[in-house]
Each structure stands twice: as C-alpha cells, then as structure tokens.
C-alpha cells in the first residue's frame, strides 16, 4: 500500500503555518515530531470530558480515565509486541534509561564486570552508564560505529564479564541502524547472563519493532518523537527482570499495603509508577499509536528511507559539505548530520530558518561523537512520514543560498 503524503499532511495543523513568510518545512523530527490533530484533540477531550485521577476512584470519571489510560498502555504493548504489564510509563526515554540504571544497574553490576555501549550514544545512554561505572567500579567499554556497526568490534570486547550491552537502535547523529537481532544472537552465544538494553527513541516511531522477536531485555523510547505529547515515555522490560527489580521511586500507586513499619510493592507495572501519572499524555500517546498503525510502520519506514536516499544523493553533489557517518552502504534511518567546510552550523541554521526550514544545529546531545569528527557542532536534517521530496528540494535550494551568502 502506498501512502498519500498530501493527505497525511492535512492531519497536522502545524504544517499549515508559515515561518518568516515561508511555508514551514519541518526537518527536525529526530528532536521531536509534530502532532496530528486527533492527538491534540484527545488531550482537550480528556480535560474537557473526563478529567480525574486514575486507579483510585469508584466514580464514573475516574473509571473512564483509568480505562482510557490503561487502554493506551495496551496499544503501546501491541505496537512492540510486549505483555501489557511489562510496559512502564515514564517521562521520556531518558527516564526509562535512568530507571534501568538505578534500579537494575546499581544492584546487579559489580566492579569486575563491564558495560558495553557505542561511541554514538545520546548523552542519556552514555552519561547514565558512566555514572553506574563510577558508582560500581565496573568498566565502561565503547564500540566505535563511526563507520557503521561492525560485529567484530563487539566480539572483540564482549566477554564473560559483560553485564550489559546498552545500544542505540538508530543513532540520532549518524542515522545508522544497528543490527539488533544479530547483536542479540552474538551476545547470547557468548554469555546468557548479559542483558541487552536498546535505546529505541529514534526507531520505534519510524519502523516495525517486535521486542519478542528481538529477544532484548529492555527497550526505551519517548512518545513525543512518535506524534505523541512531551512528558511521557516508555520502558519495556522482560517480566522476570522487572519482577526482581526494586522500585525507582516511592509514593502513591506503587504500593499495595503500607504500615508505619514498612510497605509492600504493587504488582507490575505499577511498582515503577509512583505518584499521579501523566494521564492525558498516556491517553494521547495511545491515539498517536493508533494513528501510526493506521498508516503502517512499514510504510512509514519505506517513505523515510526513500527520502533519506534521495537527500544523500543530493548531498554528494555539494563538495563543501560532509555527511557525518559517510558509510553509504550501511542501513540507515531518516537522520542526516552534516558539516560545511567553512560555514558554521549556526549560520546555516539561521539562513535556513529565514526560509521557513527548521533543522537542528549543535552537538545533538552526543558531544564526544561530534567532537570525534573534529568539530564541536553539526547541522542535522531528520525526516518523518509527512515530509515530501519537494521539501528535500527546498532544503537543498536553501543550502545553495547558504554558500552564496557566506562565500
């Protein structure tokens, strides 16, 4: 089935606005996605029609809110083929990663063990494990994926003492897709006790993903990058692991019984969800999942890969621009970071903004990686299903203007 992108675009009110007198061309989807009207409306609907707290009232509003909120969890579970009680709502992918680090990492990793991550991790999957390494004394090892993911690089540093491999599924800077399924096979051959965490912030919104098929232990992602609202994210964990983990935060909703002497923890997933949650956020995330599935994750992925290949081909015609992660044979998602020989990314970003084109500039929350390319900042375009080939053309016309202006 092919998707009518023009009709998809009509679902997003923001795509109709102009910026600096030009029609908005939004190419900063790896930072956050835009939201379809039905997602925005579902937030208003919750606050207008059935706003109330979840999991505690016997009144109608509370029951309606609880049902909608839990139904959204069910939808997210289906999206990644996980059991419902293994889906924990968090604030974002960052909190999901921190939850695993604090609750599982601190209690299960010892000084003689090691953690493996890539050199391209987002700060949330890098600083987190640096801290666990400092606190537990374990070693933090890096796989260099600057030129793509090489299985032998993992093989060389994986051993019997590897407690965790925590790895990005799609790099938010390089766009490379890491071969999670093959990585899991290799790890399982080497050490059945090694746990595998996948940072799926850039993949779940864009491609089909099945945690059961992949056989991973944890998966983290954010709703706002998949057409949902900000302030809500997801942690998936294997049940036997979650059952044995201590709560991350304490308070209401995460207990089953409290006395002055102690407390008993609630069942999964509530054990990890202390306090009144982001109810509107959860409900509208469920609506976003419906919206994505209605288009079809395969269709979304295909369109974005086509846009990316088209853009990479065009980039090759600009001799002063370098794409970071220049292995064009590597599988990649809709993220392209680039630098100009002499023009700073901020100046590029300003010129593009004047033409209504939104791109990201800076270190992309991956400072050591960006620095390894001999620069402290890069520019980045990133696509979603509502982007068009015409928008890519507009981007490259504006890129020509950047050179005309500064050189």
């Amino acid at each position: 089935m092919s998707v009518n992108i023009d009709s998809v675009r009509k679902d997003f009110p923001i795509l109709g606005r102009s910026v600096n007198g030009k029609k908005l061309v939004y190419l900063d989807n790896a930072a956050t996605s835009q939201k379809p009207k039905i997602v925005i409306d579902s937030i208003t609907e919750y606050y207008t029609k059935y706003n109330s707290n979840v999991h505690r009232g016997v009144h109608t509003l509370s029951m309606e809110a609880t049902e909608a909120y839990e139904n959204a969890r069910f939808k997210v579970a289906k999206l990644i083929n996980a059991p419902e009680d293994c889906i924990i709502w968090t604030r974002n992918a960052t909190e999901s990663l921190n939850l695993v680090a604090s609750s599982w990492g601190l209690n299960n990793i010892s000084a003689e063990q090691n953690i493996i991550i890539t050199n391209a991790e987002h700060h949330s999957n890098l600083v987190t494990w640096q801290q666990i390494s400092k606190k537990t004394g374990c070693e933090l090892r890096y796989i260099d994926i600057s030129n793509g993911f090489e299985m032998s690089n993992l093989k060389n540093i994986l051993d019997k003492n590897t407690a965790l491999v925590s790895i990005t599924h799609i790099s938010n800077v390089l766009g490379y897709v890491t071969p999670i399924s093959d990585i899991v096979s290799l790890i399982k051959k080497m050490n059945l006790d090694t746990k595998i965490l996948v940072d799926a912030a850039q993949s779940v919104p864009h491609m089909p993903l099945d945690v059961n098929d992949l056989g991973i232990d944890f998966l983290a992602f954010s709703a706002h990058k998949m057409m949902g609202p900000t302030g809500i994210g997801v942690l998936y964990g294997k049940k036997e692991l979650l059952l044995n983990m201590e709560p991350y935060m304490f308070g209401g909703d995460m207990i089953i019984e409290v006395s002055y002497e102690g407390a008993k923890w609630n069942e999964l997933p509530y054990k990890f969800e202390a306090g009144t949650p982001n109810i509107a956020g959860g409900i509208s995330t469920g609506v976003a999942v419906d919206y994505l599935l209605n288009i079809g994750m395969e269709n979304i992925w295909k369109h974005e890969v086509d846009l990316t290949n088209y853009a990479l081909e065009k980039f090759s015609q600009f001799k002063n621009f370098t794409v970071l992660g220049n292995n064009l044979n590597h599988p990649r998602g809709g993220v392209i970071s680039f630098v100009h020989k002499s023009i700073h990314p901020h100046d590029i970003g300003t010129i593009l903004d004047k033409q209504g084109i939104a791109i990201r500039t800076g270190h992309h929350c991956a400072m050591p990686l960006v620095r390894s390319y001999g620069t402290s900042a890069a520019a980045r375009v990133s696509f979603y299903i509502y982007n068009t080939f015409n928008e890519v053309d507009l981007f490259f016309e504006a890129i020509k203007d950047v050179e005309d202006y500064f050189l």
Partner: protein, 150 residues
C-alpha cells in the same frame, strides 16, 4: 554582499552586516602573542563557539591583543571586532566599552556619544533581533571582561 536571493531579507542582512562578514572572512589580530601577560580560552559548549584571547598589558593599558578561534560568523566576527577595538585602551575604558556593548545587544537606549564610541562594533546591533545568537556575539566580550577583572 552576495548575489543570493536572500539579499533582500532585511533582518538577515542587519545581522550579517557587511562589516560582520568582512571580519568573519578576514579576522583581525589573529596572530598569537609571543609572551602574553594574560590569556584565556572561552567557549560556548552549547553552540560550539570557541575563542582564545591573549593580551599584553602595561600600566593598566592593553598594548597588544590576539583573538583566534572557531565558530559561527557572529562569534568570530565579534571576536575580531573586539581585537581591533581595545588596543591602547585602559582597563577601565575597556570595562566601560563592554558595558556599552551589552547595553546595545540588550536593545537598551544608548546615547549618540556612546554610539560614536562603539565605532564598527555597532555593526553587531543587528544580532539583537536573533535572541539565540546574542550569546555568540558576547562570547569574546565576556571572556575579556573576566580576563582583565581577575
């Protein structure tokens, strides 16, 4: 100015004034000093702008100064304008100048007299319409202030 189809975009041209682009393309006083009395590297890690400031000082007067670095057109041209403006000024005169540059960048009213004293530095005024870029414009000035106050 270029032949770009952007040349009609007024506020863009106000920020990237021809003086700014000239300083960006040909920065002044880049050459490192042989034996600086004071030196400091300043950077804005968020943007990746970096400037390295060196100066020689005699009886409270800056006798020589070098500014070099990497970064956007605004941070680098501002550094170059700075390098051109403060040689032979006293510490007190420099601190006063920095106060006035800040005032201009914040869009505060400044007298004609002060405006005249700014000279080419006035070309930076267009940056005030781009709030996220003000930090770039002030990077070198803030660094110099720290350096001579220490």
């Amino acid at each position: 100015m270029s032949m770009s189809r952007l040349s009609g975009v007024d506020d863009l041209n106000e920020m990237y004034e021809s003086i700014i682009l000239d300083h960006y393309r040909n920065p002044r006083n880049l050459k490192k000093l042989a034996s600086p009395d004071l030196e400091k590297d300043v950077n804005n890690p968020f943007c990746g702008d970096e400037l390295s400031i060196q100066l020689n000082i005699e009886n409270d007067v800056v006798t020589d100064l070098s500014v070099s670095g990497n970064g956007c057109a605004i941070s680098q041209s501002s550094g170059s304008l700075l390098a051109e403006s403060v040689i032979n000024l006293t510490k007190i005169q420099i601190l006063e100048l920095i106060v006035n540059v800040r005032k201009m960048m914040r869009g505060e009213d400044i007298s004609e007299e002060i405006r005249d004293s700014l000279g080419d530095i006035e070309a930076l005024e267009g940056v005030k319409k781009f709030p996220v870029r003000i930090k770039c414009a002030l990077l070198g000035w803030t660094g110099l202030e720290d350096l001579i106050q220490d």
